[in-house]
């Protein structure tokens, strides 16, 4: 009756947020007195799988079918249901990311399980099975009680800090019979944004708005991002004006990110923008206008001209990194 965790990988490498999911599952499992079984699909080496033990997995079920190297929601669901049934699991955990959101809900309806998407807390078992999540685009939190027998939780990445343990996991291969219907989606083309740090799970982000005046000034943002090892983002007017690519747009109708550090340069801080970034741990606002609403939502603020402040900040970061 272990807790099942759906763990993903990117071409055989397990990214940090997946360990967070395992650790989260481990916390729950320990509380209710059971074990953690992770399920991982596709082509990945055992050496990489061993890492899962370090974050609390007792068992790894590996469905080795190479067709699963790409996202196929139906096939993934079949595989995960097979694992759940094998383990007799009552709790299923996935990440609240693109793949998780395609698969976990489908798994939940097959299991007739209640689902919380975007968990920010461990379940509170005093009042039932209550989990905290953000609602109204981060303007409030809700405490959701899962009342069904089986429970599905989608964890918000970057919520709990990681801590390695001395644990070890047993690796098992799981064979699943798939039908043709399971691979109905054909992938025609994949284009990855190369050479840049992906925005979605980046812990550090530098973002620019209309206050940057024009795309020709973006090198200042990019320099700072390079020094920090950060991803770059932008506000909606910037994306609409075509100064930056669409995938950089964060806000109500763009992407939602929850980095450790969000540096906003020349962005006034409209509600719609805040909706995309209010989950950030620390917000730094750099703006010429002391009345900019964003300062009210910031932890640190610099009232000054971006053209002057950015190079200074880049220098300061560079100096800091050198002396570390």
């Amino acid at each position: 009756m272990s807790v099942i965790v759906f763990v993903e990988h990117d071409a055989g490498i397990i990214k940090k947020k997946n360990f967070e999911a395992v650790q989260y599952a481990s916390g729950i499992a320990q509380k209710i007195g059971t074990t953690v079984t992770t399920v991982i699909l596709g082509t990945i080496a055992d050496d990489e799988l061993k890492k899962l033990g370090e974050y609390g997995a007792q068992k790894v079920l590996h469905v080795e079918d190479s067709r699963l190297d790409e996202l196929h929601p139906r096939a993934y669901t079949s595989a995960l249901i097979a694992a759940v049934e094998k383990e007799g699991a009552k709790i299923f955990i996935a990440l609240n990311d693109i793949n998780g959101r395609a698969v976990a809900p489908r798994v939940s309806v097959k299991l007739k399980a209640g689902l919380v998407a975007g968990a920010l807390s461990y379940p509170d078992t005093d009042k039932g099975f209550v989990i905290k999540k953000a609602v109204y685009s981060g303007k409030a939190f809700a405490y959701v009680n899962i009342t069904s027998d089986v429970k599905v939780i989608m964890l918000m990445p970057n919520t709990f800090p990681l801590a390695k343990t001395e644990g070890k996991a047993v690796i098992e291969k799981l064979a699943v019979n798939f039908g043709d219907k399971d691979f109905g989606i054909k992938i025609k083309e994949v284009s990855k944004v190369t050479g840049e740090i992906a925005l979605a799970d980046a812990p550090l982000v530098v973002s620019g708005g209309r206050g940057m005046k024009g795309p020709e000034n973006w090198y200042l943002i990019e320099n700072l991002a390079k020094e920090l090892g950060a991803a770059t983002a932008c506000s909606r007017p910037v994306s609409d004006a075509g100064w930056r690519p669409h995938h950089e747009h964060v806000g109500q109708t763009g992407g939602t990110i929850r980095p450790d550090l969000y540096i906003a340069v020349g962005i006034s801080g409209a509600i719609q923008h805040l909706a995309g970034v209010n989950g950030s741990k620390t917000i730094v606002v750099i703006n010429r206008d002391p009345e900019a609403p964003f300062f009210k939502a910031a932890n640190y603020g610099v009232v000054g001209d971006a053209m002057e402040v950015l190079p200074r900040l880049s220098e300061a970061v560079k100096k800091f990194k050198q002396h570390k």
Binding site: D10, P73, I98, G118, V135, V144, H246
Partner: protein, 277 residues
């Protein structure tokens, strides 16, 4: 002359009969799309809690169509109809009677008819089950929804509907094209974009890039009240989640201003105080 037996319209001449029949056949061969519409509070709404934090105040709140549903799902469906690929667009909403003004706004943009399933929509499983229950016998080729609703931020209903109807699902779409009975869908993946092809029927959740927002025009606004808005009772299903209470985020401590000439201090604060670098 008596009305046409095929379509019921008045026959004005023989040519008219054939034209109407041809249109009817064309319609049968065109795609049928279902667009899921949900009502959400306007983006600038301040969240006020009441009843001991168990409910969110709805008085004085302006309600809108969930932007992802409207700007992307609905408009794309309308575009497909305008280009002749889709023959019929149905809208479905899970909500009480207070959602009808918002449904009519959606009809003002486009859509042949709307169905309101008379229930609250706080449990995504129930929402998906109601919609799937309605869609089951309707043979939709394409079901579109927004990537998430801006009030609950779950983004799970689309995938659930697909699971309940046992059809394919593509999420986070940034572009949708239809070629015959195949959908070519661009979608967001981590660190990039992927183009998929999949046979219909299909559920797609939409985000920026799928279409551009439109302003309802006078013609649409006036047509909205003539388009049917059907109300159906929900099937009886046990909820699997309940929201027990809400909480407002803690008030933010005031911003710490740093001298723009002293960026070393900022870096130091970020390192030693905030501990983010």
């Amino acid at each position: 002359m008596p009305p046409c037996v095929l379509c019921g319209k008045n026959i004005r001449n023989v040519h008219n009969v054939f034209t109407q029949y041809a249109e009817l056949l064309k319609k049968e061969s065109q795609m049928k799309i279902l667009v899921c519409i949900s009502q959400v509070p306007d983006t600038s709404t301040k969240v006020v809690l009441k009843d001991n934090n168990t409910t969110v105040e709805s008085a004085g709140v302006t309600y809108i169509i969930n932007p992802y549903d409207e700007w992307y799902g609905l408009i794309r469906a309308i575009e497909l109809k305008e280009s002749g690929i889709a023959g019929e667009i149905d809208l479905v909403t899970v909500g009480k009677a207070t959602t009808e003004p918002v449904i009519r706004k959606a009809l003002a943009l486009g859509g042949d008819k709307a169905v309101r399933i008379d229930a609250e929509s706080t449990d995504p499983y129930l929402t998906a089950a109601y919609i799937a229950g309605y869609a089951k016998s309707m043979n939709y080729d394409l079901i579109l929804c927004g990537k998430e609703s801006i009030d609950y931020n779950n983004g799970t209903v689309g995938s659930m509907i697909a699971g309940l109807l046992d059809i394919e699902y593509i999420g986070f779409a940034t572009g949708i094209h239809i070629e015959g009975t195949t959908a070519i869908v661009k979608r967001e993946i981590e660190g990039g974009e992927e183009t998929d092809s999949c046979s219909l029927p299909l559920v797609i959740s939409c985000q920026k890039g799928v279409a551009e927002a439109r302003i309802p025009n006078m013609r649409g606004i006036m047509a909205a009240r003539t388009r049917p808005l059907e109300v159906v009772s929900p099937a009886v299903i046990e909820p699997v989640t309940t929201i027990l209470s809400y909480e407002l985020p803690p008030a933010k401590a005031g911003v710490k201003l740093v001298d723009p000439a002293d960026m070393d201090q900022l870096v130091d604060l970020l390192h030693s105080e905030a501990k983010v670098i």
